[in-house]
């Protein structure tokens, strides 16, 4: 099993690497021979070699650098996603796969065009919030934090319903995108540690069976505490 942590050194703002760490452990403890491969700008990447792809959040500038790099890899990534192989893009990284990103000066960048949504950034107000997101593919809601300066519109395959926090754009009750086994969300940081059931969800897709969740005991307790805190705080 090989996990690809793409742009590990430049899309790494909120401890996002925790996602691949915990997934690697979960797969290993479930009997798989598993390793994480780190790649970044300019490195050779053959998506077909991997069983899971992860990209984390970056600054607006770094995201544009990555956009240029990833554009040259669009075909490979598209094939990977079309083949229903699993991937998670957190924070502003999933914006890369849309039709366009317009920055705060009004300059529009072409996205990879895998999806039809568009992204518009601003530089006046940071949009941040603790979040509870619900879905029809996970038994429990996700908890976490959203930290962005952009709004997206035109998503067709919403991943989540917002119970608390920020949606795709002002007023939207939907968040993120799910297509086959690709999931993009503006949740940031170690989402799979904060939500061990989400790590198990991906592990089951990768392994084709339920993973051994013994290594997630603390994460599960932590999840319950956070969910309780978020539910009790208004």
């Amino acid at each position: 099993m090989k996990i690809l942590h793409l742009y590990y050194d430049i899309m790494n703002l909120y401890g996002d690497y925790g996602n691949v760490s915990v997934l690697e452990r979960l797969l290993s403890q479930s009997g798989a021979d598993c390793g994480v491969v780190k790649k970044s700008l300019g490195d050779k990447v053959d998506f077909g070699e991997y069983d899971f792809v992860f990209v984390g959040s970056g600054t607006e500038k770094n995201q544009k650098l990555v956009l240029e790099d990833l554009s040259g890899r669009a075909e490979g990534l598209k094939e990977y996603i079309e083949a229903s192989k699993p991937a998670l893009f957190t924070g502003n990284s999933f914006e890369l796969l849309g039709k366009s990103i317009t920055d705060c000066s009004g300059k529009a960048y072409d996205g990879l065009g895998l999806f039809g949504f568009t992204t518009v950034e601003q530089n006046k107000k940071r949009l941040t919030s603790d979040a509870i997101l619900e879905s029809d593919f996970l038994g429990k809601p996700l908890v976490g934090f959203i930290n962005k300066c952009s709004e997206i519109s035109g998503v067709e395959n919403h991943a989540f319903t917002v119970r608390r926090g920020l949606g795709d754009n002002d007023g939207a009750k939907t968040e993120g995108i799910k297509y086959n086994n690709f999931i993009g969300t503006h949740l940031t940081g170690p989402v799979l540690v904060k939500n061990p059931h989400f790590a198990e969800y991906f592990a089951e897709i990768i392994l084709g069976k339920r993973p051994d969740d013994g290594c997630l005991e603390l994460a599960k307790k932590g999840y319950e505490v956070t969910l309780r805190e978020l539910n009790s705080e208004n």
């Binding site: 703002l13 996002d16 915990v22 650098l65 908890v143 934090f145 956070t226």
Partner: protein, 441 residues
Amino acid sequence: MKVFFTILICKLLRFVGGLVGKGSSLPGQVALKLCPDILGRVQLPEFIIAVTGSNGKTSTVEMIAHILMKNGKTVSWNREGSNQIEGVTTLVLGSSTLSGKVKSDILLIESDERFARYTFKYIKPTHYVITNLYRDQLTRNGHPEWVYDAVADSIYDGTKLILNADDPLVSRFGLGREDVIWFGADRLSSDTDTLVSAYNDGAYCPVCKAPMEYSIYHYNHIGHFKCTKCGYRRHDTEYTITSVDLDEGVMEIDGKYRITLALKSLYNIYNILAAYTVSRIVGIDGERIAEDMCDYVLKNGRVITFEIGNRRGTLLTSKHENSISYDQSLRVASAYKDGCDVLIIVDAVSRKYFTSDVSWLWDIDFDLLASPNVGEIVLAGKYVNDLGMRFSFTDIPQEKISLFEQIPEAVDHLDNGSGRYIYAITCFSDKGKFLAKVKGE
């Protein structure tokens, strides 16, 4: 007349506020309502020195005030740490005559990095110290480049910048400017050739985004950097730490001024250097500054000693949501040669706002505690499970670690433990809960 009344009311409110122990922003807030351009209508002193940055603002400002006052200068400064525009207005009007003349030689302003652009529109600093830009309170601040843009908007023509040359992002403020004063550290015995940090915010050039190289790292991404492409590099410094010995607790500035350190951290030496730099610019003799800084203990209560039963320890106040602040505290503990136990508490992430975000734990280099000097590690607080999970991804033997959701239970556990020294590491938001259970000194 309007100026007179506004100042009078501000002074009265400040006086009353002082009696009832209220904060310092309200008087300024009222003053700004009465006369929105009041700051532009008062007569300011020759030196208006502002300090901003992610870490060390309050300590640096406190040191500058200490040195200047010791040397006969009168200083008005926002010691309450009320560093947004309302607080600064309270400070300025509180220090001025009713006719609107600030009475002090020096106006010293600690300024919040996000709000400086609003404050300085009305009150332009003559000198502007920027200490560092780190990952700090990202749940509010976004990320360092976002804060960079906010600080850039607060730099107006005619202000002299005083910049930390060893911070690649801060240094960028000096690009293309003539009127910059640089401070920083030469090669130090504690430097490393490779990065010691859970992440690298110096990996890419802040100007052109090409990869950067470091000849030395002082700590985290602070060091001597050079872009591999555009020529951006660490600037030579006018005011310089020339050597440091953290074991002995001594630093040397500009090759001749020796300062003994009450707090043996690299963090502290940068704050001292920034204070030294400002004091020199104001005209204080280097020898005098060194004397005033020797064994100087900060009054802001970030380092507190305590006792648990017959055990002694030090509380290292560290900022939650600020990995470099934590790393500095971890370095202090791991360097304690007589051996120590470490207590880490994460109970409320912030005292000012609610969040349950603990992603910042993954940016802290907890492997610094994988040191023979560190015995037991006790984790405590509401987010103890997240802490425990994070520690399970370090090289620290898991049998050294114990977890307690309740802080009193963690304290009781330490009471029954070895006689080793204790380093307690936590934030303002949580330290009171700990100090309530131990004997302070």
